[in-house]
Symmetry: C3
Subunit: 273 residues, 3 copies
């Protein structure tokens, strides 16, 4: 295995369990992006791993969101895979990788964290614990990692707009109801269900799994240009004065700290004016 700093890998036959472990709150910074690049290169081979399950070492945070202090740095790490400094194109490559990808979400995942799971093939979550948000609107930004591309196609125009424009937190039950995740399970049932599903799929021939992904992506995965456009819109807007002022105000309220982000949806409400 590669030398990962923020991911712990455990293989069980053709199933690879990947635990995201980037304390203090699994921010998407350069280290995690570097590790995801390495991992995708492994998953692209389709062998020996047919299925990968992503989970978190942190019960409260899956991937919290990007580290707003390190945007240039993490984008540069993404370029090692795609040639372009863009999280959107990195995540789109995840959606195209040969291995089947499953997100097992027990805690919070927002912004680019939510875009990570949207680019996985399936999403299952712990009822009463998991929280989802696509909250760039609070800062005057658009989702930059493909969030709009997946949310609009899966939830439909009305619910996707509610998610993105409200910038609010959605629990696992509502996320399931909206088709944002496949299903919500009681926390004690989640891991056994996902593990069983992963092994079941991994027992089937690799060629069929890959071909089903290809045919599905041909229908539902937005073109590279659209991911790139979202990424560029995020990148140019994040440097403007209003966005920077909103991000600064959020940080003063506790943004990018574990405690304050337990209830980030409410924190962002205070930001509104």
């Amino acid at each position: 295995m590669h030398d990962y700093q923020t991911l712990r890998l455990e293989a069980q036959g053709a199933v690879l369990f990947v635990t995201i472990d980037a304390p203090p709150m699994n921010l998407l910074g350069p280290e995690l992006v570097r590790d995801l690049v390495l991992l995708i290169e492994v998953l692209d081979q389709g062998e020996p791993y047919k299925v990968v399950v992503f989970k978190s070492a942190d019960p409260d945070y899956f991937i919290s969101h990007v580290d707003v202090h390190k945007i240039a740095a993490y984008r540069q790490e993404a370029a090692r895979l795609t040639g372009e400094a863009s999280i959107a194109l990195l995540f789109r490559r995840l959606a195209e990788t040969k291995a089947v990808t499953v997100a097992q979400v027990e805690g919070r995942t927002r912004g680019a964290g939510n875009e990570f799971i949207l680019n996985c093939d399936m999403r299952f979550a712990a009822r009463g614990r998991a929280i989802f948000a696509q909250n760039e609107a609070a800062y005057g930004l658009v989702p930059g990692g493909g969030g709009a591309q997946h949310l609009v196609r899966m939830l439909g125009r009305g619910r996707a707009l509610e998610v993105m424009l409200s910038a609010d937190d959605f629990d696992a039950d509502l996320a399931e109801h909206y088709g944002w995740i496949n299903r919500a399970f009681a926390p004690e049932v989640l891991a056994p269900f996902v593990t069983d599903l992963a092994h079941r799929i991994a027992g089937f021939p690799a060629a069929g799994l890959t071909l089903i992904k290809e045919r599905t992506n041909a229908i539902s995965l937005a073109p590279v240009e659209d991911f790139r456009r979202d990424s560029d819109l995020f990148g140019s807007a994040v440097t403007n004065a209003e966005a920077q002022q909103r991000i600064k105000a959020a940080i003063e309220l506790g943004f990018q700290t574990r405690a304050a982000e337990m209830n980030l949806g409410e924190l962002l409400r205070k930001l509104a004016k």
Copy 2:
């Protein structure tokens, strides 16, 4: 403010509450279309109103449907905005306006009324009170205001066909279940929820809201040609003998009266033969 005949406007900061008030049953006639044209011109500016909430002064009717006695007249009013005598293109312009649009539905909305809310950005409804229908099939017509374009994309082919071919009434719970509306709420909870959501969104920077709408429309709003085609198909079919005979028979049964339309789904069943 303009001099509206059928709309009552109340601004609360950057949120504009628009109450549809066109007695006796909020038919979509030339006056209401004229007012919607004026309003969209305001909303297109994106300032000072970032969010608009549509509701009805009539507890039983949101927008009942078009006034079948005034089709040429209301279409002509729509042309003042789009240059074409078509409700479909007017409603599509609503879907593209800069302000975020929210429909708060407490009563019945059918035909073009339903197409109005489908071209809003979000839809919330009162459980046990709101009723939805896309019922042109009962007269041998197709939805002429973009209904098919939105229903098929949001509900999927099977459920959209059920809605349009059955021409039947759907309550708020089933509409929520089908993804037709965002969510159904108990009547006393609906207005507080929508008001809170509107103010939350209006507290965020206008540029991001507009950009999120643009990116979403690029994915999910059907091309002008498809709206125009639906509109033309409706316009040419509505004048043929069979449609005119069915509309006449419906009027004899009480169509376009408050009392009979409380249960229009059943009235249309009597029309079938």
Copy 3:
């Protein structure tokens, strides 16, 4: 009426009830395909039948799946309608036929059986009895009859991938929750509901029904090339050694027998390795 071997037809006014009766388990073999070709030619006329309801004479099986011993033969029968030996193109023609098509599912329908109902206009099912699966992945295959085209568009990328990659059985409640079927009903309510709906629709003018189908298909029915591509991928993969070995192993476990397929989802699990 034509001389059908596997279909029983009963007309009630403009509604045609078609009962699939191909013992011992309603496999899709050359006889059933031949009969479907004949039937589609009738439905294409749009008169005298405006609505057709498909149901099964077998309480446990709607259409179980293709007869794996007769793939070349049933494909050849399909060519009589479309000129191409492909179930996908036959089913796509069903989706385009003038009559409105409704599947009333009381038992199991998997693989091509599921693709048959996906190409109907609406699907209603018996709660606690109906079972759905798109399970080609278990053999290293892709759905060859348009399953991916419909599932991805109706269920969204994540749920469609779960359905196809897991190759598992889904009950009527979960199928309804995922938007795979329109609605699930208690078994004693299903037939009355569907019969009533069929007669309601059949009471409306034929021209409008056909036009609504056309407009809906223009939005949501995948192009012929995509159906053909799925069909070709299935056809070429089904002859390779791995697929043949998996199918042989399944047959040894009871595949293509009534008893073993009552719980086919579990049988396929044993196939995994």
